[in-house]
Symmetry: C2
Subunit: 331 residues, 2 copies
Amino acid sequence: MNSVNHQIRLAARPSGLPKPSDWKLTAEPVPAPGRGEFVVAISYLSIDPVMRRLIDADYREPVAIGAVMEAGAVGRVTASEHPGFAVGEHVYGGFGVQEFACSDGTGVTRLDPLLAPLTAYLGALGIPGLTAYFGLLEVGRLREGETVLVSGAAGGVGSVAGQIAKISRCRAIGIAGGPDKCRWIVQDLRFDAAIDYKAQDVAAALQEYAPGGVDVFLDNVGGEILDAVLSRLARGARIVLSGGLSQYAAQQVRGPSNYLELIAARASMAGFLTPDYTGRYAQARTELAGWLREGRLISREDTLQGGVRAFPDALLKLFAGQNIGKLILAV
Amino acid sequence: MNSVNHQIRLAARPSGLPKPSDWKLTAEPVPAPGRGEFVVAISYLSIDPVMRRLIDADYREPVAIGAVMEAGAVGRVTASEHPGFAVGEHVYGGFGVQEFACSDGTGVTRLDPLLAPLTAYLGALGIPGLTAYFGLLEVGRLREGETVLVSGAAGGVGSVAGQIAKISRCRAIGIAGGPDKCRWIVQDLRFDAAIDYKAQDVAAALQEYAPGGVDVFLDNVGGEILDAVLSRLARGARIVLSGGLSQYAAQQVRGPSNYLELIAARASMAGFLTPDYTGRYAQARTELAGWLREGRLISREDTLQGGVRAFPDALLKLFAGQNIGKLILAV
């Protein structure tokens, strides 16, 4: 077993997208677990849009300069002094961008590797899948027969959200960038329609694909796309905000100038954070895993190689919109 | 009785605030009621922020060029061929900016002049009061003990909203422009605090007056004020949009750039239109009239003289923020 723990730490607060010099690669001995702790060898790291927000000075609890970058990850317990976690078990937790993590079990869940491949626990069975699940079904109060729109539709959250909409007997329309992503969500994921925001006028396309207006919009992109959708709301529409990828690295956030359309449409725009539903993760995972097994839900992960050293590039790849499916870094 | 009906018609679509040449004064004979119709002599016209939106080309059903400008009004029936409305009765309806209107009764309600002065039916017992009532109690789901913030707090909607918040045992904070308005809402209307947005930093003032954050914000102003409030939301906050006065005449609407704060606060922003609650107006009016009688609710109207000719100036006065209380034009 490797005895060195490589880590990526925040070296400086970036303006815009982080440069290589905003990160620092460090090496430490692999920690030994104290009483009530265990050590995890990390297998896969989740690369998420919100990571950009986590390192902003004005974020509520930003990652400190010099601290290991925060990240959700799956791995295997390699040493344990904790009664609840045994060596060899697979776990998910906020272990950070490093090769080994020491944990007291807070926020850590045990995974069943027989139910689905480990990477699915960062995708459809992980925070992205749970975000789609609670965002649409709870915050969005999705009802059968409605028209559902998702942005970032080929990404981790969006790809699952559109499929949950179809499973819920709704019409699913996805917004994604480029023909490959659009083809994938329609042909493989069975969305009813895809809008390529790089090639099409989103408002005009919605007029065609959703002539009665959009009932539920799960948005993790924001910016011009959100503005276009605001002009195409059905009466009583619900916009669910799970993020704002397009605005995270912006110097000046672009507020939705069409927000007064919420009045005419008697619509709402609501934000939420997935961890508020922690108590219901198990129930939701069971349902999502059932759909996966039945082949009604496809979890696609775009897994990069290169270990923690490749993290800075992996994050830039996410913001360049180069991934199809949930972006993951193999450690 | 006067036999000429003076009217204000839309002559051109304004850019920004309407100029005198965007309106046209016309004179017609007073109409005679057809079968199933009645004629109303208009006493008072309601001057409302939304009037600016009604004349925008991109509004859903804008006032047509050459048409009488839309306006809510109270008046008295002077001639009737309608079984439901008798000569002498006092009524409220969307009669338009004119001295006499012919109506088939659609959207017209009978008023009780003994319950309150007629002008109150354009204020606390009219659309402004009903907007405050349904906006806070229904859309905002106000609960006892919460902190309520209203913008345009010395205006028709805001002044009633803050008082309903106090009646509902909530903490009421008002945002208004200038010391006179701020003094009035605190001393006469018993708001807990007032923020003068012309002299104070709204976000900093909220930190002082609402240290635990804002639970419900009834906003009819938008712009920078909405952005400031977004940074001071309590968890689970509800922003209720009843208008966007500051943006109605803007060339480029300023979207709320802090909208992603809705995520961190698990908050929502919802729009509504008061006429959706028409079926419950009577119940709400009874409750509002009860509060008026008991002296717990003050309806203040700022009544301009000058008849329909004075309408163009009256509208500009509203956008200049010169009124305290509901702005009304006596005909």
